[in-house]
């Protein structure tokens, strides 16, 4: 991993904040530059950009009655100069098709019709597409993506760490079978245009996924890809099996290429990227070495533990150099469960793909969102990457739900 970080020749791009007092240098490969598109917008979770370049932002907390904001850059200087808001509910998921904007609360999916300028026609009267999804606070955010066949995919995170009888309590055994998987811990597929759907109308498309925040439909491969947040607290729950260091480094955060019916193994196994094996969870009799999940899917890529992959985006634009095309950007929100080790993440990674498969390497693309050298606690991070979107010009937008900054990353180097 070190090799990857240092292979990037760091080009710092100065971002002067609105007041000019504080400066954050987002570190990018040569030729790339980051600027602040919008600032202090609130808890900016996921984002989506229309063909006209309007940026829709889903807020994790309602601000001034608005749970969705729309930013326009009318003078095309790379900074938003017009803002509107609507949608009086908090949430994470937001996605666009040609004709509709989709947005989620923690238990519902709504859609809004768009006019031919990419503006919402009916901000106060959206259609409710899905309702009554599990919302038990933990891992409740509903991320979404759409395929080209009129289906919407909704992440329903498990309201649990490892499906213990008593969540996160030392000594509490894992439930067998895990009853949570009936209504959460997976990706559900619904029709994108049918109102008022519930679980009965949807289909559990993939299971055994603890909490997926980042997901994207790859149109080139016609396949769903997801990033999972791996389980927490191996040391705190099983101090006889794991030390604090192992607990900080295990398990991997994972990227999966999903086919209908896949089981990715949670809660029974976790992925150990050092042993390169699916390891039986200690709640289910594991000891850190016993393998399990023979029928569960292997990840396509593994990343260091606890970094929190909150957004996934396949890049299809023409602005960035050719090697980025059809590769995956992943926004890592940054860890909390590596303490007492320093926290990690707080960056956007890039996974190069060749012929529809990852090359096996990954690299840090945009770094230093935290703005501090050593991050002891997540509260110290200035920005936390949470959402990704691609603009019509091929620029990459990154949202941050800590300070509420929307970054716009462009390429200005040689092609």
């Amino acid at each position: 991993m070190k090799k990857h970080v240092f292979s990037i020749v760091v080009a710092a791009s100065c971002i002067c904040q609105a007041l000019g007092q504080e400066r954050i240098d987002i570190k990018l490969p040569p030729g790339f530059a980051a600027q602040v598109f919008a600032d202090d917008v609130g808890r900016a979770r996921h984002i989506a950009v229309t063909p006209q370049g309007h940026v829709y932002v889903k807020l994790g907390r309602v601000e001034n009655g608005n749970g969705i904001l729309m930013f326009e850059d009318t003078d095309k200087d790379g900074k938003a100069d017009k803002q509107t808001g609507f949608g009086d509910y908090a949430g994470t998921g937001i996605a666009l098709t040609r004709d509709y904007l989709y947005a989620t609360s923690d238990s519902e999916v709504y859609r809004y019709a768009l006019d031919n300028q990419g503006r919402v026609r009916n901000p106060d009267t959206p259609e409710r597409i899905v309702r009554d999804l599990v919302d038990k606070r933990q891992h409740a955010s509903k991320s979404i993506t759409l395929d080209t066949q009129g289906n919407i995919y909704v992440n329903i995170g498990a309201p649990s760490n490892a499906c213990q009888e008593r969540d996160r309590m030392k000594g509490s055994p894992g439930m067998m079978p895990c009853p949570i998987l009936d209504s959460a811990g997976g990706i559900w597929q619904f029709r994108a245009s049918k109102p008022e759907q519930t679980y009965a109308d949807g289909k559990r498309y993939a299971t055994g996924l603890r909490n997926v925040v980042g997901l994207d439909w790859n149109k080139q491969l016609n396949q769903l890809f997801v990033t999972q947040h791996g389980r927490d607290q191996l040391f705190q729950l099983y101090p006889k099996l794991y030390d604090a260091q192992q607990s900080a480094e295990l398990p991997a955060e994972t990227l999966y290429a999903i086919d209908e019916g896949d089981d990715c193994g949670w809660p029974y196994v976790y992925y150990d990227h050092f042993q390169k094996k699916k390891i039986l969870a200690p709640e289910y009799g594991g000891d850190g070495k016993k393998t399990g999940g023979e029928n569960a899917k292997d990840p396509l890529m593994a990343f260091p533990a606890h970094l929190a992959p909150n957004a996934l985006l396949f890049y299809t634009g023409n602005m960035f150099p050719a090697r980025y095309r059809n590769g995956a950007f992943i926004a890592f929100h940054g860890s909390w469960n590596r303490a007492p080790e320093p926290q990690k993440g707080y960056m956007v990674a890039f996974v190069p793909f060749r012929n529809g498969k990852p090359t096996g390497e990954w690299e840090v693309f945009a770094d230093n969102f935290a703005g501090v050298e050593v991050i002891d606690a997540p509260g110290q991070a200035r920005h936390r990457p949470c959402g990704l979107a691609q603009g019509p010009d091929g620029a990459l937008y990154v949202s941050d739900d800590a300070k509420g900054t929307i970054f716009k990353i462009t390429y200005r180097g040689k092609r």
Binding site: G60, R137, Q138, H139, A140, R166, D167, R168, M169, K170, G171, S172, D232, Q233, F235, Q236, P239, W336, N337, A339, P340, D376, A377, P378, G379, Q380, R384, A402
Partner: protein, 135 residues
């Protein structure tokens, strides 16, 4: 003569030093034990600086619950807590019960957090934990 006085002085200093050290040890013990308990059971969520995890685990810094009524605080440790809202911020991860810790461990860790992270609550003693446990 001078030599004897010097020895006496050194001896006296040693006695004073030793008694100081002992005094320090006895008053520091709950805090030191409390830090050990904190680092083992609490730090992963509430973090080394007590700042918590945004949206997931509340900070203990200048904590309303931390400095407040002891019984309420002891109950949180014994019974756990789910989805709390503090100062307009909601924290989504549940805190499990820590009733398997001893009365002394709970008293020490609460004494530790009430004396740190910009808090100024009085010490908690094992009997106070014991009383809540039997409620």
């Amino acid at each position: 003569m001078d030599y004897r006085i010097a020895i006496l002085a050194v001896g006296l200093m040693l006695v004073v030093f030793a008694s100081n050290a002992q005094e320090k040890t006895s008053s520091q013990r709950p805090l030191e034990n409390g830090k050990t308990v904190y680092d083992t059971y609490c730090l992963s969520c509430h973090q080394s600086d007590g700042s918590g995890i945004p949206n997931l685990a509340p900070p203990l810094v200048k904590g309303e619950y931390v400095n407040g009524e002891k019984d309420r605080l002891i109950d949180i440790v014994l019974k756990g807590m789910e989805g709390v809202t503090i100062k307009g911020e909601t924290y989504f991860n549940p805190m499990p019960p820590f009733d398997y810790l001893s009365d002394q461990e709970i008293a020490d860790v609460l004494t530790y957090i009430r004396a740190n992270f910009e808090n100024s609550g009085s010490a908690v003693v094992a009997d106070e934990v014991k009383a809540r446990r039997s409620q």
